[in-house]
């Protein structure tokens, strides 16, 4: 009430007009930015594309995320699956599906060799394959 007493209704509206672009519009900007961020990046899409049976991968991924809810984040998962530098990741994006499958298969075998395994509904799986499925489940 006191402010309204000091400034007129007109000046309030003028002030509001100035504030909108800088302040009140910020949430709208953030939403757009968020939408952009949550849109799967090319690497994520590349990894998910490896699955022909996406529904199957999704079901396995959902089971994995039930056991490991802390990994329910696409970017976090991508970093865990491909802990490479940006340059290396961009190489992967350009790799054809066959080559990528070979790389991932090698990584799966290494997971088993170094004990990087998880138990999902009683099945002993490599972390890589389980996380790839989780990625599909989140898309």
């Amino acid at each position: 009430m006191r402010i309204l007493n000091i400034i007129s209704r007109r000046s309030f509206l003028v002030t509001l007009g100035w504030l909108i672009p800088f302040g009140f519009m910020r949430p709208v900007h953030a939403l757009a930015k968020l939408r952009e961020l949550s849109r799967p990046d090319p690497l994520t899409l590349k990894l998910a594309e490896i699955f022909i049976h996406k529904d199957s991968a999704k079901i396995v991924g959902q089971a994995y995320l039930q056991s490991f809810p802390g990994e329910a984040d696409i970017h976090f998962l991508v970093d865990l699956i491909c802990p490479f530098q940006a340059a290396r990741q961009s190489e992967i994006i350009k790799t054809d599906g066959m080559k990528l499958r070979e790389l991932l298969f090698l990584q799966q075998c290494q997971d088993f060799e170094y004990g990087r395994v998880v138990k999902v509904q009683g099945w002993i799986l490599s972390q890589t394959e389980a996380r790839l499925c989780a990625l599909v489940a989140l898309l």
Partner: protein, 520 residues
Amino acid sequence: MRAHCPKNKSIETEVCIIGAGAAGITLAREFIGRPFRVSLLESGGFEFDSETQSLYEGSNVGRPYHSLDAVRGRFFGGTTNYWAGNCRPLDEIDFEPRPWVPYSGWPFDRAHLVPYYQRAQPICQLGPFAYNPEPWDPTGNSRLQFKGDRIIHRILQHSPPTRFGQVYKDDIARATNVVAYLNANVVEVETNETAGKVTQLRVACLQGSKFWVRAKVFILATGGIENPRLLLLSNGVQKTGLGNQHDLVGRFFMEHVGERTAVFLPLNPEIDTAFHEPHNIGKISVMGFLSLAREVQQREKLLNLSVSLSPLILSLRTAASVYGKPLLESARHTDFDAFTRHLGYMLADLDDIAVSSYRHLSGSGRPLRLFQLRCTVESAPNPHSRVTLAPERDILGKNRVRLDWRLSELEKRSLERSLEILATEVGRAGLGRIHFSLRPGSDWTSPGGPHHHMGTTRMSADPKKGVVNENCRVHGVSNLFVAGSSVFPTFGYAHPTLTIVTLAIRLADHVKSIIKNQSS
């Protein structure tokens, strides 16, 4: 053969064998043609008889177990009248003292037994003494191909199975120095006043007659539960039971732990597993299985185990109802069948070899190719796992037995860790994936076991650690011997019959030399 008991007579002989099962018949055959008399006493006749069988009845107060009268055959041939015929010698490590397995180790090594194993092979109607996979599968193409050496391949041979009572009945009947007495139940082993020597056996028949047997050497061969029972019942002089001066008779009861809780999903549905299935090489039936290398057992401090593959060509849900409760529970709780199918398709997408094979399965409704993993784990010697006398009496007035079978955490950990290692190696080699799920808590095993009763008159050179010495003679008793799996101190995963026969041959040689020395 004498089907009817002598009445109130005393029989004189040089060697008396109690029990006509695998051990007793093997011993008797080894003595055929020797210059001494042998009496073979069998509780039953030539056929199953329910009244005689009831003498096996007893109570279970430990882990859930089968009815005791349903796990042995009490007639000529003993339990070989029922056995499946799986044969394999014990591994080297089974004879060794292992620091992580209390009370483990035999008084001799495996090499010492090999000549006797070789002699046991034809008795069990087996092929040559060859239990490594190479002679049976020279190319190795039909074996699962692992990387590294943590998982090893083994084989077992299948006996027809030899029904000892039928196959060797005529040998015994024709022998001029061997007399078999049927329907003859030994109810007490009588000794001199110091319990240092057996003087005679008191034998009773269900029809009411009784007789006595005097001999120079007595051999107890009545099985892993009846051997300690008879020693405990023979308490006329040694009040705690014959040979029980250190309270060891009946302790260390052991049985294999058999579990079907694991499933193998191959990445390649067309994988060749012929080696792992029963198959014939010439006239010999063999089957491959998997085990952990001894270095892995040592490093991880695990008990020995075997894992065999059993095809599951049905829908898993159906198979679960056929093959075992744990799998069924798994299926019920997790919709195992559907999840496994999704897993198979997902994995195929990541594997070029499997992808084309799985593609034609996709959407076809055809069942996945799966294998059940049948695990046999040895159980660790445990003095609290034991056979004692119960207050209840059988129809001959003798105390029945009470079985208190116990396992330790070591068996559970060994199974769980071994399956983890196997699952890791299967994944590492790109062979597939493994599922397993042990039930939580102490009730983690399936009830019962494969009817292998061992350890209750265990062998040790030290009288404070074993009931019999390295020659299977009861400590402190000069002329009483024990044959059969009750003398096994440890036993690995192998089925016991071949080793029972092997030890019986070895004991026969020893007894022959005793009689010979006494004669000269």
